[in-house]
């Protein structure tokens, strides 16, 4: 049985109930109290997102300042339950337009109840596609477009299909004056480097985000410089694959609109896109990653009350590019008194709440080397020599126009039977995922 949720609760951080929707009778009404007393008010909070109390399982996640709790009494499917919550939140966001937090819930609780009623019936997920739901659930409470009381005398044949979702992601008859497609390749690069500067673990998780404003029912075809796709193409055209970099994707997952059969046979990504914003694909790469930054730390403990920190950061992407919002966090012991800095660019200070020296550089050009050196004074403590365990140095950054994997869009073709022209916009950005350097 996939989910069969017995109840769904939204709570704020104090444990007040914001939304309370019971789907089944097989759990008691006091489940919120159980959650509050056994999870929220104990150290259990945050130790594990799936917990069992009195024969019921609580699956909870925190989104901004709201806890969403799914209660099940059967042996439910945890992956499905969490995914459902994530999708439901995305749906709510698309209705409220932006934030999902306590205030938004309070202001829209009637709408949320309406939606909860629609997206889950008797504990089983139903239709969660915003595209379709927006056709008949509106904040104004008007009659649905298929209502025969309105202009049309009979419902259009495909409306049924849409509501119950055979081609659930796009409705017909969309018209845009200007046909535009936006495609963003967003990569986050994860790194774990040892003290000695060897890479222990490095991978890139990327996603392709699209925003489509296209009329009619367009067919899109996307070509990337990934290895499988290129080889397939070369085979088909019976010529050797072009020189230049090819990327080996470890694994790809696609939005439901992508024709997977065609991907498996022809290795091209072809799809009829949903209207508006969506995530086309996700991928993972572990080979041939270009790290945008090298970090060379040196931390010396001078006696019991002084430390010398020296961090050299080198940008290794193209000289014409630059990184934004670079933050380097160097951990220091809890009993740090103060620190004095010398930086070649940006600003640095000691953050006592994080126990870190935080060095920020707003704009970091390519092919340059910046340094921060700091003298840290420690409060001499009575607790003897207990050696300090150093957490890793962490880094945050964004590099526009750069992909750590080297992935590029080779082409993006839009085909629609009316034959209109489209404008395509492609952007690249690489962010730091968990970029950790042990020191």
């Amino acid at each position: 049985m996939p989910v069969a949720a017995s109840a769904v609760y939204f709570l704020n951080l104090r444990g007040d109930v914001l939304i309370n929707r019971m789907y089944r009778d097989d759990v008691g009404g006091n489940m919120v109290d159980a959650f509050r007393t056994h999870i929220m008010q104990t150290k259990e909070l945050g130790t594990c997102p799936v917990r069992q109390i009195g024969g019921c399982s609580f699956l909870y996640m925190r989104i901004s300042n709201v806890y969403i709790v799914t209660v099940v009494s059967s042996n439910a499917n945890a992956a499905c339950a969490f995914k459902f919550v994530v999708e439901a939140v995305a749906l709510f966001k698309s209705y409220f337009g932006g934030a999902f937090d306590e205030d938004a819930i309070r202001n829209n609780f009637v709408l949320i109840y309406e939606l909860l009623d629609e997206i889950m019936d008797f504990g089983y997920p139903q239709n969660l596609s915003p595209e379709i739901l927006k056709l008949y659930i509106t904040q104004e409470g008007v009659r649905s477009p298929f209502s025969s009381k309105q202009q049309d005398t009979r419902p259009p044949a495909n409306a049924t299909l849409q509501v119950t979702g055979a081609v659930g992601w796009r409705r017909e008859g969309l018209v845009y004056k200007k046909n535009e497609v936006f495609l963003d390749i967003v990569e986050s690069v994860n790194l774990l480097m040892s003290q000695k500067g060897t890479t222990l673990r490095c991978d890139v998780t990327g996603k392709i985000l699209m925003k489509c404003f296209l009329s009619g029912m367009p067919d899109l075809k996307l070509g990337l410089n990934d290895k499988i796709g290129l080889e397939k193409e070369a085979q088909a055209k019976a010529r050797p694959s072009r020189s230049g970099k090819t990327i080996e994707l470890d694994d790809v997952t696609f939005h439901q609109c992508v024709n997977l059969t065609r991907f498996n046979t022809e290795k091209t990504v072809s799809f009829v896109p949903p209207d508006g914003e969506f995530e086309l694909m996700k991928y993972r790469i572990t080979e041939g990653i270009n790290l945008p930054f090298r970090v060379l730390p040196s931390i010396k403990e001078l006696g019991r009350t002084r430390m010398e920190v020296n961090v050299k950061v080198k940008s290794v992407f193209g000289a014409k590019m630059f990184a934004l919002g670079v933050v380097v966090k160097v951990p220091v012991p809890k009993h740090t008194a103060k620190a004095s800095f010398q930086v070649s660019s940006g600003r640095a200070k000691y953050n006592a709440a994080l126990d870190c020296l935080v060095w920020k550089v707003r704009k970091f050009p390519g092919q340059t080397e910046l340094t921060m050196s700091a003298e840290v004074e420690l409060i001499s403590t009575m607790v003897e020599k207990k050696s300090w365990t150093r957490p890793p140095i962490q880094m945050e950054f964004q590099v526009p126009m750069f992909t750590a994997s080297g992935l590029r869009v080779r082409f993006l073709k839009v085909w629609e039977k009316s034959g209109y022209n489209t404008v395509e916009w492609v952007r690249y950005i690489t962010r730091a995922g968990s970029y950790e350097i042990r020191c």
């Binding site: 009494s73 409470g141 968990s434 950790e436």
Partner: protein
């Protein structure tokens, strides 16, 4: 807001609603909306607004959709408490069921089915029938789910109206995929419930898992929404394919599901693949290779909670097929920011996949975590290093690492490491030299945790020859006997001191006397008994005592597994469910009232005899539990039980001055030790094996507690701890009287013998019974019976285990006579 205040507001709301009820003034809908909103928000925060029921219903005659929905929500919440008032809503709901707008029809039907009022069931049947035939798919999806709701209110009116059959047809014929999906989940639930309600036959449910249904579903897989796909794939995974070609074809069709963005769909697909290939070992292996990449992607995407759900499944697969994942070990490195529940799983996976080629890297990484700020994870990592050491042949480098931990001089690191070094030495005694040199340097003052202390004491006793100052360190422990809070340490201390006495008598004789004296005066029963045992053994003669207490040891080759393979297979069967997350089969955690007697599947017993503490979730606890047992070598364990069993003997106060040289002491107390239980040949009866010569005190008036209580976990634990005390064969006089297990269960129950679990199929049934001696304190005096009966031949066999072995015969007689009565009654 205080209660009075709130009450006042409710009254006011009531009045306002009443005024609006009949009003048709313009703008009245907006006012109503505001009032309804208020009511719903009260309802949300848990204030009882059911007193407004009448007014709410009166106001609900409206064409405003939002208003309608709020009203339905309200009515659905409170109808059960006000069945008569709920009747008022029926009228307009039924009217709405015939509205021209399919959305309104659907909405009304859904609300109608959600009223959950028994005596309104008759009003449901008509609209449901109509709904299932509706031209609009949306209404049909609602109706299909409505049937399930009806079943939960009143199973009989659902089946009497032939709804399951209608759903079945709909399942095969409907053009709308969501309708099919809803039919599928409704039917699954209904059939399962029907089976447990009547004869327990799953024939109906199995009719869903036939070739025609499964093929239909697979071929339409792309029509289904991602949620419905999860459901369909789950159903497909229950299908048993007839031949490999069929399995391949199915996997071909479903392969692209592995690329789906929804992790639940991918997991469901993986389940299908794994189950389809269970009988084909090599293909099964290839499946692991195929699913590796998608799983690793899912782990690193989505929210922490989602990736936790995936990682739990990955964990299961890694433990099943470690070699497949061995090359991907870097994926299991912990991120600093990972929550500790994820780190823990990752550590276990790293431990599992360590092999010759990656051990060095993995252990290096684990050593990094040992310095982690998170103490719990640091401990886990050290344990992980130890486990790797125990499973590898080439432990050279690892031993060095472990010993380096001791130099970190952190209490918890030292503590964990000591326990590990002890285990390591038991498996690889050849390392004793290197280890002991380092352990000897550990200052015993830095060791505070009982487990670590016990380990240290054990090593001191065991390797007294190699550690020059061993007697003096132990002496320190003995001197602090009174301050030592842990009985575990005191027990270990007794053994260690006794052992060292055999090895280096001159240095330890005084300490032995002190330890035995302290032990005999100890308030803890086990400690006292062990001290007494050693004392008496020593009286028998030092050589005899040495043979018992300090025999040459064999290295332990394999440590007992923490979870029986049977349990793990069961969890694997429940892939893609909470069972995997909790790491225990679902019957262990589902609510008791939902649970009822546990069903046995076919003839595989649900209560594996060898299962070790399977109710423990945390593997680390298993390890500790095992350590406890294994600290004592087999012979020692028997000894200690002997001591316990012997506790009732009267003894004259031991005279410690009775022996002051390690020469055989005169057997002065021999008379009181006549009953043979100390020497090894007679140990058998201590373990509860039937001992023909032993006179069993028959107690003809054995009375059983009318309603004994025992939870399955305890039952299981007892079952695995106790040995079979008696086997009873009996032939039922009227075998035909047992078409299903229920009558027998009721009969036994009437005679105070409760059933813990039953199962099997005609003609062979298997039961687990239990009973408790009347007037015995809770959790003692239990009898556990495994009862197998063949109903066609009438031959039955019962295996009895008991807390109190003396009463076995009496209970056996009672049991057989009860069975006999069953035949004749």
């Amino acid at each position: 807001m205080n209660a009075d205040n709130r009450k006042g507001e409710l009254v006011e709301l009531k009045n306002q609603l009443r005024q609006l009820a009949g009003s048709r003034a313009p703008g009245v809908e907006d006012v109503k909306r505001e009032l309804y909103k208020k009511v719903i928000s009260y309802m949300t925060i848990g204030i009882d607004v059911s007193s407004l029921f009448g007014e709410m219903v009166m106001c609900s005659a409206t064409s405003d959709l939002v208003l309608k929905k709020m009203c339905y929500l309200y009515v659905g919440n409170y109808a059960r408490g006000h069945p008569d008032l709920a009747l008022l809503t029926i009228n307009f709901l039924q009217k709405d069921c015939h509205d021209e707008d399919p959305m309104i029809r659907g909405l009304a039907l859904r609300s109608l089915c959600s009223l959950r009022v028994m005596n309104l069931v008759e009003y449901l049947v008509g609209p449901l029938h109509a709904g299932l035939k509706d031209s609009n798919g949306y209404v049909r999806t609602v109706a299909a789910m409505g049937v399930l709701k009806l079943y939960h209110i009143s199973p009989s009116s659902c089946t009497d109206n032939d709804f399951p059959a209608t759903l079945k047809t709909q399942l095969l014929q409907d053009s709308d995929a969501q309708v099919v999906a809803n039919c599928l989940c409704a039917l699954q639930e209904i059939y399962l419930a029907e089976a447990s309600r009547s004869d327990g036959s799953l024939k109906d449910r199995d009719s869903l898992y036939t070739t025609s249904v499964i093929y239909l579903l697979i071929n339409r897989i792309k029509d289904f929404s991602e949620w419905a796909q999860c459901l369909v794939l789950d159903v497909v995974s229950k299908y048993v394919s007839s031949n490999p070609e069929e399995s391949f074809k199915m996997m071909d069709i479903l392969e692209d599901r592995l690329q789906h963005a929804n992790s639940a769909v991918v997991l469901a697909t993986i389940k299908v693949f794994l189950h389809l290939t269970l009988s084909m070992a090599d293909i099964h292996q290839q499946v692991y290779e195929r699913i590796k990449a998608p799983l690793l992607t899912l782990v690193s995407s989505g929210s922490v909670e989602q990736s936790y759900a995936v990682i739990s499944h990955l964990h299961l697969l890694v433990l099943r097929a470690p070699t497949v994942f061995a090359s991907e070990y870097k994926h299991f490195y912990c991120r600093y920011s990972d929550p500790s529940y994820v780190k823990k799983l990752k550590l276990e996976m790293l431990t599992a996949i360590a092999n010759e080629s990656n051990t060095y890297e993995i252990v290096t990484e684990l050593c990094e975590y040992a310095a982690n700020v998170d103490v719990a994870i640091a401990r886990e990592s050290i344990r992980a290093v130890g486990k790797i050491a125990l499973q590898q042949y080439d432990v050279n480098a690892i031993v060095d690492r472990l010993l380096q931990f001791l130099e970190m001089e952190k209490d918890y690191v030292t503590a964990e490491t000591l326990v590990l070094v002890k285990d390591l030495l038991r498996k690889y005694p050849q390392w004793s030299h290197d280890c002991i040199a380092v352990v000897g340097n550990v200052s015993s003052k830095n060791v505070t945790e009982p487990k670590a202390k016990a380990a240290l004491v054990w090593m001191l006793g065991e390797y007294a020859y190699d550690m020059l100052d061993a007697p003096y360190v132990l002496e320190g422990f003995v001197e602090n006997w009174a301050e030592e809070e842990s009985a575990e340490v005191r027990l270990e201390l007794l053994t260690a001191v006794t052992k060292i006495f055999f090895k280096r008598p001159p240095e330890s004789i005084k300490m032995l006397g002190a330890a035995l004296a302290a032990g005999l005066a100890d308030a803890h029963q086990d400690v006292h008994d062990r001290a007494l045992l050693y004392y008496r053994l020593l009286q028998q003669g030092v050589e005899i005592a040495e043979r018992v207490v300090n025999p040459p040891k064999q290295a332990v080759s394999v440590f007992a597994d923490t979870q029986s393979s049977e349990i793990r297979d069961r969890i694997f069967d429940e892939f893609n469910s909470l069972a995997v997350v909790y790491q225990e089969p679902s019957y262990m955690f589902l609510d008791k009232e939902h649970r009822g007697p546990i069903e046995l599947t076919e003839d595989t017993g649900i209560l594996p005899m060898d299962s070790k503490l399977s109710d423990d979730v945390l593997p680390s606890q298993h390890v500790e539990a095992n350590d406890n047992d294994l600290l004592l070598s087999a012979s020692e364990r028997e000894e200690s039980r002997g001591g316990v069993g012997n506790g009732s003997y009267a003894y004259s106060g031991p005279d410690l001055s009775g022996f002051d040289t390690p020469s055989p002491a005169a057997p002065s107390n021999n008379a009181s030790l006549s009953s043979t239980s100390h020497t090894s040949p007679a140990i058998d009866d201590l373990l509860g094996l039937t001992f023909p010569a032993a006179p069993v005190p028959t107690s003809p008036s054995l009375k059983l507690k009318p309603k004994p209580l025992l939870d399955p976990a305890t039952f299981q634990r007892k079952w695995s701890q106790l040995t079979i005390a008696s086997t009873l064969d009996h032939t039922l006089s009227q075998p035909a009287a047992l078409p299903s297990p229920q009558p027998l269960l009721r009969h036994m129950q009437a005679h105070s013998i409760e059933c813990m679990a039953s199962g099997g199929q005609a003609p062979k049934f298997k039961f687990f019974f239990f009973a408790q001696v009347a007037d015995s304190p809770p959790s003692t005096g239990f009898f556990l019976v495994e009862f197998v009966v063949n109903t066609s031949s009438g031959i039955s066999q019962a295996k009895v285990k008991a807390d109190n072995a003396d009463l076995v015969t009496a209970f056996g007689n009672l049991f057989v006579s009860t069975l006999r009565k069953f035949g004749s009654s």
